[in-house]
Symmetry: C2
DNA sequence: CGTCGCTTTGATAGCCTTCAAGAAATGTGG
DNA sequence: CCACATTTCTTGAAGGCTATCAAAGCGACG
């Protein structure tokens, strides 16, 4: 995937307050810009990177939404996550220098590439703490997801997913009366470890009960407290 | 929990080849030792840290086994992981300065404390890459766990757990004909998102079929290829 | 020997998966 | 702009698997 090597212009980035750049002043932001590369705009279904690609870097989502996909030896796909601006992806390539999963854009999206070898430079620049926080937030999100997947009832898993996504988007300053869900139902069901049919039935039930309203790729949360109740397993 | 502030003696540590210390020479190891603290020996059920503790550091397991536990608002417990030597735990405290989970020793165990503020020092010392690898391995393990939890059949989840644990222990140089499982069946079932009864039934089935043999806190893998077949969902 | 905690085994019911078909949305070419 | 093809989503019915409730082994420990 082509990367523009020009200045990444962190000073102008709308998501700089929630990524590595948080807490930096103008001078530091300019320095930071020189250490990362912002991708060209990826269109829907474009790959940011592919399973098996050799690499020496990871990414922070700058705009749009990406999904991560793992393919097993048998060719089965698993959607391991959906990632919104300010979230770190591709980091596990550090284990052995190649991506264990693919990252696919779900809408027009951009991402900032950070080479692993730049990490110590980022520390001395003052961005180390924010970088660690990004990593820690990733881990915290993963743990929440794991707890959610331990629920055996479909209701609880789906409601949990909405609640967790709501929390993540609130952090970005989004209005969370509606959740942007640019992924297909198939991807969402896969991510939740459910069948497409089961997901569809639950959503239909909630729609009929007036808890949510489904527009094309957005879900409006009419009674979010109902969802919170169903997701009582979350901390 | 008391920590001995004396020299951690990384040069003598049996697990140094798989932790932050990997790839360091003797001189660097001595430097590293001065930057971390090794805990006193924790006995079974001792806490390394507790949910809610304010902190500025994380840990690498040095010996023994720990479990991580999250408690929800309703008082329900979730066993989010079991951690063996060389694995990083407690890192998500970096998000807001307090531990979102507890770490409990399952056997006599020790851990090395690493303050977040020492991270840049570790980078300049040459341990940065290994530290990132620890983090990346953690993330990779989490992803594997998530894939495993997406399986709806109990067989697949349990077999997957064994296969993943086998891989992790191989990395430590363990003989993996037997898996040390110092946790209770209750904890294991909880971790897998299954009921105690369901886990017990599956293990009984495998025992009867001669796939495994259960000793007190060890499971001997007699036909590991059978388990691999059941865990075909893993990459 | 008896108690207590942990584990195993048993029977029923509920929920999700599977298989199947129909409805709605999307895209394409005329 | 419409007709048709394809994909995506919804709805339906039957079966399997796990959860739940209940009780009985088993082992540690006093």
């Amino acid at each position: 995937m082509d990367l523009v090597s020009s200045d990444s212009q962190c000073t102008l980035c709308p998501t700089r307050s929630v990524c590595t750049a948080r807490d930096l002043d103008e001078a530091q932001l300019t320095l930071l810009s020189s250490k990362i590369d912002t991708s060209a705009v990826l269109q829907k279904n474009d790959h940011l990177y592919r399973h098996g690609d050799r690499t020496d870097s990871c990414y922070v989502v700058r705009s749009g939404v990406f999904k991560n996909v793992v393919v097993t030896a048998l060719g089965e796909e698993y959607v391991t996550g959906f990632h919104y601006p300010g979230e770190l992806i591709g980091f596990s390539a550090k284990v052995d220098g190649e991506h264990p999963d693919s990252a696919v854009a779900l809408t027009a999206s951009t991402a900032c590439r950070i080479a692993f070898c730049e990490f110590d430079g980022l520390f001395s620049l003052g961005a180390g703490s924010a970088l660690l926080k990004l990593l820690a937030e990733r881990e915290a999100n993963d743990r929440n997801l794991e707890i959610n997947l331990r629920q055996s009832r479909a209701e609880a898993r789906i409601a949990g997913f909405f609640v967790l996504l709501m929390r993540r988007l609130k952090r970005l300053g989004y209005d969370t009366t509606s959740l942007p869900l640019p992924m297909s139902r198939t991807d969402l069901a896969n991510h939740l470890g459910l069948t497409l049919e089961c997901l569809s039935r639950e959503l239909g039930k909630w729609k009929k009960a007036g808890v949510i309203a489904t527009e094309k790729s957005v879900i409006r949360l009419i009674m979010p407290e109902e969802l919170s109740t169903l997701a009582c397993h979350l901390s």
